[in-house]
């Protein structure tokens, strides 16, 4: 009779599950990760400028830009408010228009086919060239900038929302049809909630695009205020700190906007797999 090699559990010792990192620690790590990423980029930038002795005119160090920002907070706050308002209005207008158009497109093949050439046309047009056109139409108001921001955001919002509204679960759709649910009911109970991950995906992309739109509008749409204007003035008058300060504030606004939207998304899309931490949801299996 040969002796069998038995593992530690052969004697009936209860096997302990491997220690798992607490949920809170994992979430904290997720919050810290982007900060670490940004810190690394800034550190490399700072080192590169210092080690290779790059001219301040070509690329100032991030620390010098930060010092400049701290010295002139009112200036940047005033101009940031202008750009933020234009970007937010453009974002809102694009979102509203896209929801309307995508809803009609999702419900009618005719509307879909009629809308597609217009969307492709808009997509193929360099939006920056529209700024002078809007300037002629609306004069030296905030509208040319708002509309450039809106045009920038409109396409991703429309395409994503349309895709989301069309990507309906056929079984759930048939289930609602089996009790003669109306189109409005199917939209409210199924299509729209199911499209939200697509809409949020576009929403995050459009945070940056709306800022780009507002800045381009300010640069080409005749503006005396806003961060696009301060950057343009900084470039033409070689005010390097102002140029880079404007860029950094714009980037900061973009990051904050994205973080706020991500916070809303994690609440609204709590049900969606995109919000699960690696390892999946805690299933009651």
């Amino acid at each position: 009779m040969t002796a069998q090699t038995l593992g530690p559990n052969a004697a009936g010792v209860a096997k302990e599950p491997p220690p798992e990192r607490p949920q809170r620690a994992r979430r904290s790590a997720m919050v810290v990760a982007p900060v670490v990423g940004l810190a690394v980029v800034f550190a490399i930038w700072e080192l590169y400028v210092r080690v290779f002795d790059i001219s301040r005119l070509t690329l100032p160090t991030p620390s010098s830009i930060l010092v400049h920002l701290v010295d002139e907070p009112g200036f940047y706050w005033r101009h940031a408010q202008v750009t933020l308002r234009e970007a937010a209005m453009g974002y809102g207008i694009a979102l509203g228009a896209a929801l309307l158009v995508a809803t009609f497109m999702a419900h009618s093949r005719f509307v879909e086919r009629a809308s597609m050439p217009v969307i492709v046309l808009l997509q193929s047009t360099p939006v920056a060239v529209l700024a002078p056109v809007f300037l002629i139409w609306f004069g030296f108001t905030h509208w040319p900038k708002v509309l450039v921001a809106a045009v920038f955001c409109y396409i991703p919002f429309t395409i994503n929302e349309f895709t989301g509204l069309r990507s309906v679960d056929p079984n759930a759709y048939e289930l609602l049809r089996s009790v003669s649910a109306g189109k409005v009911e199917i939209f409210a109970k199924l299509r729209f909630p199911q499209s939200l991950p697509y809409l949020f995906s576009a929403g995050r992309l459009c945070v940056g695009l709306s800022l780009v739109g507002a800045v381009i509008g300010e640069m080409f749409g005749g503006s005396t205020e806003g961060l696009g204007n301060t950057a343009r003035v900084g470039q033409t008058r070689l005010l390097i700190d102002q140029l880079w300060g404007s860029i950094l504030v714009l980037a900061l606004i973009g990051v904050i906007g994205n973080l706020l939207l991500a916070a809303v998304e994690s609440r609204v899309l709590r049900w969606h797999s995109s919000q699960d931490l690696p390892g999946g949801p805690t299933a009651a299996r």
Binding site: L176, S178, W271, A284
Partner: protein, 280 residues
């Protein structure tokens, strides 16, 4: 909610309202074709079927024999070319508009953003004006959820449930509509054998409480025999009914009956009919 059925007497549930909501389904000479390019696929050929109020009928047959198509024809989800279908005396379209038909699809199809509690009331929330029968009350729905072991999961999201639990929610959603006729399209096909076996008896438990007429599509012979009052075997090309097996097992059914000679005899009979269908 309990009432007599072709299969025998049922037990009543505590707190049940005693209502009998089954309705008759009549299918006479129904044929259906699907357009396939220039020709047509003959999906159903002169189907004749009378289902009594509160009867549990299973459709079994090889893939492509038209079981699911027939289910959708009865449910008013697919049109048919020839014949007559009535659900409690009305057309399938009218039955659908008046919410007389509950549907359980192959996948649970739960809405991910709704909790268990809100998923089971989904069908009751839409087309309220059309409903001929009231949906189950909140207390009755909760009782059904308790019955299937989901009492502690009312506020969970579908992604937090296992496949078997999701299918249980789907079943309760179907029953909670309060429709007299329930159409079930292989609701357990995606489950493992152990869970599937457990689900059969949960379904029987729910059905015995509510008394609906059920048309159940399946590929499983044991499932069809233990659940049904009658098993209809379908053949393919074109889809037609070739054998009807009336199950002589008493109600309520239990797992012990799977050792009963009558159960085994029905199993053999249905298997033989399916074998003949496959051999053709």
């Amino acid at each position: 909610m309990a009432r007599p059925t072709p299969g025998g007497s049922r037990t009543s549930s505590p707190g049940s309202s005693g209502r009998s909501i089954g309705a008759a389904v009549s299918i006479r000479g129904v044929s259906k074709w699907f357009p396939t390019g220039r020709s047509h696929l003959h999906a159903l050929d002169e189907i004749d079927m009378e289902i009594g109020p509160g009867e549990f009928v299973s459709l079994i047959g090889p893939s492509g024999c038209g079981k699911s198509t027939l289910l959708r024809v009865v449910g008013g989800l697919l049109p048919y070319e020839i014949g007559t279908v009535t659900v409690d005396g009305t057309s399938p379209a009218q039955a659908r508009d008046t919410k007389q038909i509950g549907f359980a699809p192959q996948t649970p199809s739960l809405l991910g953003w709704r909790t268990v509690r809100r998923n089971v009331t989904l069908l009751a929330e839409v087309n309220r004006r059309g409903a001929l029968h009231p949906p189950l009350s909140e207390a009755e729905t909760l009782e059904l959820l308790e019955t299937v072991g989901l009492g502690d999961f009312l506020d969970r999201l579908p992604k937090e449930l296992s496949g078997g639990m999701q299918q249980r929610v789907s079943l309760v959603r179907c029953f909670a509509l309060g429709a007299p006729v329930l159409l079930m399209d292989e609701p357990f096909s995606a489950l493992d054998e152990i869970t599937r076996n457990e689900m059969r008896y949960l379904l029987l438990d729910l059905w015995e409480r509510t008394g609906n007429t059920v048309i159940f599509v399946t590929h499983s012979i044991p499932e069809a025999v233990i659940l049904s009052d009658r098993v209809l075997v379908m053949a393919t090309k074109p889809g037609r009914i070739v054998h009807s097996e009336t199950i002589q097992l008493p109600r309520p059914r239990s797992a012990e009956m799977e050792d009963d000679d009558r159960y085994l005899s029905h199993m053999r009979s249905v298997r033989r009919a399916l074998g003949e269908v496959s051999a053709r």
